[in-house]
């Protein structure tokens, strides 16, 4: 019966008559290819032949062509040109053609292709075909790929076929219906009666599919759920009891279980019927207990049934004795030697925690062992489970276990593991010193895998634990000597040494548990120097090291010459940011000794609450807050005292060229905060991932929010500073790092005498966009000033000022404007319709740009007025709107 001798095709005789290779030969020649190129060649040739044959439209070759195409399709080559052949084969009268046609249809097409609609009619005919196997083919195809439209069109046929005389058609129709109701849930109620009739069947195939259909209906439609709960619960329980107790049936037996597939489907249906209904749950208690206790658990089939039974017990209404049974089964699963069983046990214990935490806690030791399993799937599950098991009482013990394992775990698991440990430690830490200790351990072992927000959080905590500053900086110093390759550890250490270097050297604030260490000033500088010179340190680390050096230059006056040398070396850095900062810092060290100590004062304590709020809402929420122009204010405020401090001419505050066209230049110059904040106020801040690094450490350059162009990104600092807009708004005191970001480029220019400061155009809080002259003629000038409305970045408020340049008064002045479709324009009334000589009137416009960020504003306008009773009409187009509105 199986195709033995090269009869891979239905018509071997014809194959020999007509041209072209046989399927079998094609497969052989493809398999004989030694290289991919050779294979492509063979496939190309075959495809060409098939196309030619399709064009000849010879019905005898169709099925073979299609079979070949399916094989070619499986190899991953495009076969769309064969789609119509499927339809032709389906429409032909013979069974062999239909069979291969439907197969091709399911393989080559998916429900989203429009071609599929063309087959609806053929399907309809075949569903009414006299040959039941043809009906079967059509049902199968419909069940596997039907779209919502087809489902609607053919639902009545399928519904009718659920009552068909042959059970094989009934079962196919039932599954086909499940697809139909998934695609079109409204149709569910049509199937309720038919589905409930299937539950009385004896034929296992029909019963399985019928139960599946009922399950589907129950999940989609509440009426159906009520109906089945009332009418069918008892019947289903009886069916389950019958098959559970049935004698050995070879046809359905799998490892001693009669039809586990039917078992599982029945249990699944009972689960939805029992969930939320105490009466139904009550009815099924006995049979569930029976399945849970009597099912053989030494083979996979039995365990699959037990798995489903436990799921059902956990989902139905409270029957505590059953739940004990379920938890015990899971306990047995967990200690099973089979990895699969352990995997599912871990998975299900996660659900069991919800109603019996204590029972799951009993298995803690076993679960911890699973975290160390060689199997990645099991480790991952176990880790998830452990993190759910942690509470205030066991956090210390569990964390210790996990950290111990971190030392020896696989490299690729360290990321997941360290992230979990950090979240556990943060959530449950009983005291700060413990938190700091654990985090240091994690950073030492897996510092390179730790995410930014984790070490940012650590710095915030350290900053807040003033009594532990000395302890922390000494612990970090010791750790960094051993684990200098752990990037984030190095960063935290450098930051702390920069801030608390004096505490390190003088052993200030020794705790009883500490061993005193002797660190000289130059030892401390060694650590920082090492970080800045190491070639594999990244930009952030180097930038932090540079800031730390500047701070140390003031804390350790005795070796400030050495520090200066290190800073000077960075003048040659290939990183522009580093180069610039080195020059600036060098200038501070050299020429501003009197203000240096106050510049590099210790950072004010970072606000934990603000940080946490931001961190929690750092993703989507921040986007909207970013868009508000008000964000620019704190930055500006922060900048002001700094400027005073540096005693820079206030003219130089904001050197920023404020048109956004100059972004690139700004970046090159190191970017001033004023303009970047202003721009971010005006744009929706697409990268608003709120890089809190900026907030805390204030290093580097905030690149303007619009810096999406690659050229700019190349120059701006990589990896940090994605979001300038709310940078620093927690910081308002004049600690040094502010300078890097807060003080404008103009401020810096003063330090760098080599550069000429650009003339300032605006004050910090000035408008986000420069005003433009929208129109100018000999008699009339129109100026636009812009502001962004809060909350909606698409919206721009424009104030138009009309200035009469002529000596005559304009009367009946009217301004009209037209915008392209992507803009919406709203005109407020003008302040007056009479424009006196040399006077002006204003009018407000509101423009909403639906293509905000993609297209700039553009406007055409017409102005009409009367001069001495004579009509004047002026027209113009405004193209010079600032970009980004």
């Amino acid at each position: 019966m199986p195709a033995g001798e090269g009869t891979a095709l239905p018509h071997p005789i014809m194959n020999s008559i007509f041209s072209g290779t046989r399927l079998r030969d094609m497969i052989r020649s493809i398999r004989a290819c030694k290289t991919a190129a050779e294979e492509r060649g063979v496939v190309r040739k075959e495809c060409a032949d098939i196309r030619a044959s399709i064009n000849e439209n010879d019905p005898h070759d169709r099925h073979r062509n299609l079979a070949k195409l399916m094989f070619i399709h499986m190899l991953g080559y495009p076969t769309h040109f064969g789609q119509m052949e499927c339809l032709k084969l389906i429409a032909s009268p013979g069974f062999p053609e239909k069979r291969i046609g439907y197969l091709g249809l399911m393989l080559l097409l998916d429900e989203r292709q429009e071609v599929l609609m063309l087959v609806t009619n053929s399907l309809k005919q075949d569903l009414n075909h006299t040959n039941q196997y043809v009906v079967g083919l059509a049902l199968c195809a419909l069940g596997n790929i039907c779209s919502a439209e087809m489902a609607r069109d053919l639902a009545p046929e399928v519904e009718r076929l659920i009552q068909f005389r042959d059970p094989n058609i009934r079962k196919k129709a039932a599954l086909c219906s499940t697809r139909i109701v998934r695609k079109v849930p409204d149709l569910a109620e049509n199937f309720i009666n038919a589905a409930s009739s299937l539950l009385k069947e004896k034929h296992h195939g029909v019963l399985i599919t019928g139960v599946q259909l009922c399950y589907e209906l129950c999940t989609i439609n509440d009426e159906a759920l009520e109906y089945f709960r009332k009418k069918c619960t008892e019947g289903l329980i009886k069916t389950l009891r019958d098959i559970t107790n049935s004698a050995y049936q070879p046809e359905y037996d799998v490892a001693g279980i009669t039809d586990p597939f039917l078992h599982i489907r029945l249990l699944k249906l009972l689960r939805v019927l029992g969930h939320g209904d105490a009466d139904a749950s009550d009815l099924m208690t006995d049979i569930l207990a029976q399945v849970a206790t009597k099912t053989e658990s030494n083979k996979n089939a039995g365990n699959a049934v037990l798995y489903e039974c436990v799921e059902t017990i956990m989902a139905i209404e409270d029957t505590s004795s059953l739940r004990v049974l379920a938890i015990n089964i899971l306990g047995r699963f967990l200690s099973n030697r089979d990895n699969n069983i352990r995997y599912v046990a871990l998975n299900m214990l996660m659900k069991a925690i919800a109603f019996d935490d204590q029972a799951v806690q009993r298995h803690r030791v076993t679960i911890l062992e699973c975290v160390k399993d060689p199997d990645a799937s099991i480790r991952k599950r176990a880790l998830e489970l452990v993190s759910l098991l942690v509470n205030e009482n066991n956090v210390k013990q569990l964390t210790k276990e996990l950290i111990d394992y971190l030392e020896i775990s696989d490299e690729d698991f360290k990321e997941d593991l360290s992230a979990k440990i950090c979240s556990i430690v943060e959530k449950f830490s009983p005291e700060k010193i413990w938190y700091i200790d654990q985090m240091l351990k994690v950073l030492s072992e897996a510092g390179k895998f730790v995410k930014d927000d984790v070490w940012h959080a650590l710095i915030v905590v350290i900053s807040n634990a003033s009594e532990l500053h000395g302890y922390t900086v000494r612990a970090l110093y010791k750790a960094v000597l051993t684990y200098s390759e752990q990037e984030t550890l190095v960063r935290v250490a450098i930051w702390c040494i920069g801030e608390y270097g004096d505490l390190l050297v003088n052993n200030v604030g020794m705790l009883g548990i500490e061993d005193p260490i002797t660190v000289t000033e130059s030892d401390a500088v060694d650590v920082v120097e090492d970080a800045i010179t190491r070639h594999n340190s990244d930009m952030t680390t180097k930038a932090m090291a540079l800031v730390a050096l500047l701070k140390l230059s003031s804390r350790f006056p005795s070796i400030s010459e050495r520090i200066k040398d290190i800073i000077v070396k960075q003048k040659g850095s290939l990183l522009l940011e580093m180069q610039q900062r080195a020059i600036e810092f060098n200038s501070i060290v050299d020429r501003h000794k009197n203000i240096r100590p106050s510049l590099v004062e210790r950072m004010p304590v970072l606000d934990e609450a603000t940080f946490n709020v931001r961190r929690a809402g750092s993703l989507p929420a921040s986007v909207s807050t970013m868009a508000k122009p008000s964000v620019s204010i704190p930055n500006g405020v922060a900048a002001a005292p700094l400027v005073d401090l540096l005693d820079l001419g206030s003219d130089d505050i904001m050197a920023a060229p404020s048109s956004s066209g100059a972004d690139f230049l700004q970046d090159l110059l190191g970017v001033d905060l004023g303009s970047s904040s202003a721009q971010s106020g005006a744009t929706p801040g697409p990268k608003a991932g709120a890089d809190l690094l900026m907030d805390i450490l204030s290093i580097g350059t905030p690149s303007p929010a619009q810096n999406n162009t690659s050229s700019v990104d190349l120059l701006s600092t990589p990896g940090i500073n994605k979001n300038p807009s709310n940078a620093l708004d927690t910081l308002s005191s004049p600690a040094l790092p502010h300078i890097a970001t807060t003080a404008s480029a103009g401020g810096m220019f003063d330090l760098l005498d080599g550069l000429t400061p650009s003339p300032s155009k605006e004050a910090t809080n000035g408008p986000a966009y420069p005003p433009i002259v929208a129109y100018e003629s000999s008699t009339l000038k129109i100026e636009f000033t812009f502001s962004k409305s809060s909350g909606n970045p698409q919206e721009t408020n424009v104030q138009a000022t009309f200035i009469n340049l002529s000596p005559n008064t304009f009367t009946d002045f009217i301004f009209q404007a037209a915008v392209p479709k992507f803009l919406q324009l709203h005109l407020d009334p003008a302040s007056s319709n009479t424009l006196p000589a040399s006077g002006n009137i204003t009018q407000n416009l509101r423009v909403t740009n639906s293509q905000h960020g993609k297209k700039s504003l553009v406007m055409r306008m017409r102005i009409g007025y009367k001069v001495n009773g004579k009509d004047v009409l002026e027209e113009g187009q405004i193209n010079n709107f600032p970009r980004g509105l």
């Binding site: 497969i27 069974f95 352990r342």
Partner: protein, 203 residues
């Protein structure tokens, strides 16, 4: 030549799988991950995939809508993960928020993708059920049978699963339906043969 040889090496042959069936030597995995760009489907099985140890696709069946592009991406990703898993690990891989249950029979990996909360153990049984039916149909099936008669493997799968749900738990019934349809094809073939013979004679 190499490839033909390697496929004929007995150790790579599915013919040995009777003993494999008994010893239930399974490796499976579940895959889950954060970003799921897969089409949201319902139903227990989203797709079925047969991949050889060399990474060649032997059968694919998609019950949830995937574009051709997604399909080849899925195949690439999954075969990368599954073929690289060592022996004796569990048969489940978490992948893009779904689980893929796989089981190796000789040189072939049978993979089925299900939702994260579905019964993995049952899917292992379904895979095994399918292999047993194939085995019965081909008489000790081997990978070569599935290459040259790939359409038969599809026909059998279609009698086992529709819409990603199992439709028949009796191997005998599936075999009966398949052979009834094969006979119809044979009959049509003979008829066509005789007609073409007559035409050939007449001309």
């Amino acid at each position: 030549m190499d490839r033909l040889m390697s496929l004929c090496v007995p150790s790579l042959n599915l013919r040995m799988h009777r003993s494999l069936i008994d010893s239930l030597e399974i490796q499976s995995c579940y895959l889950l991950s954060e970003h799921s760009c897969l089409a949201s489907g319902f139903g227990s099985i989203h797709f079925v995939l047969l991949v050889s140890r060399q990474g060649k696709v032997r059968l694919t069946k998609w019950y949830s809508p995937y574009t051709q592009k997604e399909r080849s991406k899925v195949i690439r990703e999954l075969s990368g993960v599954i073929l690289n898993r060592g022996p004796k690990l569990c048969n489940f891989v978490e992948w893009r928020g779904y689980k893929v249950v796989y089981k190796r029979y000789a040189s072939l990996y049978f993979c089925m993708c299900i939702d994260a909360e579905d019964n993995e153990l049952e899917v292992l049984e379904i895979i095994h059920h399918y292999v047993e039916i194939l085995d019965r149909y081909f008489g000790s099936v081997c990978e070569l049978d599935l290459i040259f008669n790939f359409h038969k493997a599809y026909y059998i799968l279609d009698e086992l699963l529709i819409a990603g749900e199992i439709q028949e738990s009796s191997k005998k019934t599936v075999a009966r339906i398949i052979s009834a349809q094969d006979e119809m094809v044979e009959a049509a073939k003979e008829e066509a043969g005789s007609i073409s013979y007559i035409i050939a004679q007449a001309s």
